[in-house]
């Protein structure tokens, strides 16, 4: 039978059992929509993570104390105290591929102004920090080299701190706030950054000279990190080599000793993040794909019912000259049509669903290939799960089929 006629027969068979056909399509619809939405969210989050990291500067390098031990091995506390002022000074002296360097110490706690207080993080940084992070002060001033030398009790603050501590809209610059009972004078306000893609409020920070935080607050002589920037993103690896050399020398490590510090580029961070996102996306998509498998089994079930129901029709068609292949084509086309129609509706639902997700501020982006893949998968499902019922129909004995009641 010609393809066109096979299509007509299939449409008629589907139309004759509209509700049943719809139910068997429903699985495909849900499956395809789920795959598309999952992929769109996965892709969208990945893009937004990438943008975020790019905003932070792709040439940023972070030196952390301790060997590179990913995977949660408990560290010796002394291992976390390997970054010392000597390291910072040597880097400043010998750097070639590195432009900016800033020691970093961190503390968290309550910031208080008058009757208002808020929980926040305090970062002790060098003056290069604002250049490394490309994070300008929009009101007031950055703190100065002088402030660092004198361990001055000054700070710049993020927008959230202002919102929390000065809810009445008072001018913050020049005001004294307290962090863990130490008074800090606000000298500047940072440009707002908003939330990052893993939901952290980047404006909930106070940044003070690292010397102040180390001496007056933490009473420690080592750094939490040292942040640097390579001259360009492309020179990141040279910068890492250079820093490694410097630190190994200052730490007096022998050749057979492993590094007691870890240098991570933003590039690497991005790769780690996106590969994590990829893994999550794959897990979500695989889960959604399983629903497609279940949908395929549903179609197979319906097709088997349909074949049995139409045994007499099959017998008749065979007796008037339909070959096995004509019969199997007829049922295959029917199952392909069910799954592709389901696929089309699924793509539309997936699209709508993605749009709704976007309304709820989830970053999304529909990769075109996910739609193409959905159609391919639907066809494969139609053929794959229609094959067995179609074969069953094609192998019927016309004599018995036509007598079937």
């Amino acid at each position: 039978m010609s393809f066109l006629n096979l299509m007509k027969v299939a449409i008629r068979a589907i139309a004759a059992n509209k509700f049943r056909s719809f139910l068997s399509m429903l699985g495909i619809i849900i499956g395809v929509a789920a795959v598309i939405i999952m992929m769109a969210i996965g892709q969208g989050s990945k893009e937004s993570v990438r943008q975020n990291i790019q905003q932070m500067g792709t040439n940023v390098l972070t030196i952390r104390p301790g060997a590179d031990r990913r995977g949660g091995v408990r560290r010796d506390p002394s291992e976390m105290q390997t970054l010392k002022p000597i390291d910072y000074e040597t880097i400043l002296k010998e750097k070639k591929f590195v432009t900016y360097v800033s020691p970093e110490v961190t503390a968290s706690g309550q910031a208080i102004y008058g009757a208002n207080n808020t929980t926040t993080s305090l970062y002790g940084e060098g003056i290069d920090y604002f250049d490394i992070k490309q994070w300008p002060v929009i009101k007031g001033e950055e703190f100065t080299e002088e402030d660092i030398r004198k361990s001055a009790k000054v700070c710049v603050v993020g927008k959230t701190i202002i919102d929390e501590l000065f809810p009445d809209g008072a001018e913050p610059v020049g005001k004294m706030i307290r962090f863990k009972s130490i008074p800090f004078r606000i000298v500047g306000v940072l440009k707002p950054k908003g939330y990052n893609s893993w939901g952290m409020d980047q404006d909930n920070v106070i940044i003070a000279p690292y010397t102040t935080v180390m001496k007056r607050l933490l009473a420690q002589t080592y750094y939490s990190n040292i942040v640097c920037s390579a001259i360009t993103e492309e020179m990141s690896n040279d910068a890492i080599d250079e820093l490694t050399q410097i630190l190994r020398t200052t730490h007096k490590l022998k050749d057979d000793q492993e590094d007691d510090f870890t240098i991570r580029s933003q590039q690497e961070m991005m790769e780690t993040m996106t590969s994590t996102m990829d893994t999550i996306t794959i897990i979500l998509v695989v889960a959604a794909a399983f629903s497609l498998l279940v949908a395929g089994i549903g179609i197979m079930n319906i097709m088997l019912v349909s074949v049995t129901e139409r045994t007499k029709e099959i017998g008749l068609r065979m007796s008037v000259g339909a070959r096995g292949i004509d019969i199997s084509n007829q049922f295959l086309i029917e199952s392909i049509m069910i799954s592709i129609t389901g696929g089309i509706i699924g793509v539309i639902v997936g699209w709508t669903g993605t749009y709704v997700c976007e309304l709820f501020a989830l970053p999304t982006s529909i990769p075109l290939w996910s739609i193409i893949v959905s159609f391919a998968v639907c066809t494969v499902i139609g053929v794959g799960f229609g094959y067995f019922p179609a074969q069953k129909a094609a192998n019927m004995d016309p004599i018995e089929a036509i007598r079937y009641e």
């Binding site: 039978m1 010609s2 006629n5 004759a16 007499k312 029709e313 017998g315 008749l316 068609r317 065979m318 007796s319 008037v320 000259g321 339909a322 070959r323 096995g324 292949i325 004509d326 016309p398 004599i399 036509i402």
Partner: protein, 249 residues
């Protein structure tokens, strides 16, 4: 002048193996049927009529012996070759009509031609309309199968058997589900087709019908018991006219 042989059976046997036992449904059947004959095949239940008809209709192949349909030996043919042969050379009429549900008369009649790539849709429709006119349903082309009476449905089925201009029309108890009046109408139709030169094989257990055919083959236990020509073919049209007019469609 020798007439053309349409069907030739040479010692056809058909055994069915049921569990441990072998059922000999046909035990060596031989006959020739010539073009233009109207043959009734009769016999009691279990005598092998359906088995024989399945052989003649190429729905089944003999265990031994040979069947030659319109010059083509059938025994060694593959399933799909036989499907094609049925499509081109045979028209079936079944006891229970076997029309496609919710489908119009024309579409039902077109069905065999759907499996013949030599017909395009226009030719298919033309042939179907012609066949429906031949069975007196020229005015019911677009009626759906579920809107028709038994007699009308059987006419559609006969039109479907005619549409491919077959070498032989095979009818299996084609009047079995119909009342007397309608049965005679069908016989009138078969006699008309016979008069037009068609070859018809009509399986029935009703001895009366044999009187309206040109030849009668009696089966018993899978063998031919009698094979007689009918010198005095009765007219179904006359019989119909003499029937009391209490049944109508």
């Amino acid at each position: 002048m020798e007439k053309k042989v349409v069907i030739e059976l040479q010692d056809v046997r058909r055994d069915f193996i049921v569990g441990e036992e072998t059922v000999h449904a046909l035990r060596g059947v031989s006959f020739k049927i010539y073009e233009g004959e109207f043959v009734t095949i009769m016999g009691t239940s279990g005598s092998g009529k359906s088995t024989l008809l399945n052989q003649l209709g190429c729905l089944d192949t003999p265990t031994s012996g040979e069947y030659i349909l319109d010059g083509t030996p059938v025994r060694k043919m593959s399933k799909s070759q036989r499907a094609k042969l049925r499509n081109r050379k045979i028209g079936f009429v079944f006891q229970n009509y076997n029309l496609l549900p919710k489908t119009t008369a024309v579409e039902n009649v077109e069905l065999p031609l759907m499996y013949n790539t030599r017909y395009n849709s226009r030719q298919r429709r033309e042939a179907a309309v012609k066949a429906l006119q031949a069975v007196g349903l020229g005015d019911r082309l677009e009626h759906k199968s579920n809107q028709m009476s038994g007699g009308q449905m059987q006419r559609v089925a006969i039109a479907r058997a005619l549409v491919n201009d077959p070498a032989v029309i095979l009818a299996d108890e084609a009047t079995g589900n119909l009342d007397t009046h309608t049965s005679f109408e069908m016989l009138v139709l078969f006699q008309k087709l016979h008069a037009e030169g068609r070859t018809i094989i009509f399986v029935t257990h009703n001895p009366e019908i044999a009187q309206y055919s040109s030849r009668n083959i009696m089966l018993r236990d899978g063998k031919i018991r009698e094979d007689t020509q009918n010198p005095h073919i009765l007219s179904a049209a006359e019989a119909l006219a003499n029937l009391p007019k209490n049944n109508d469609e």
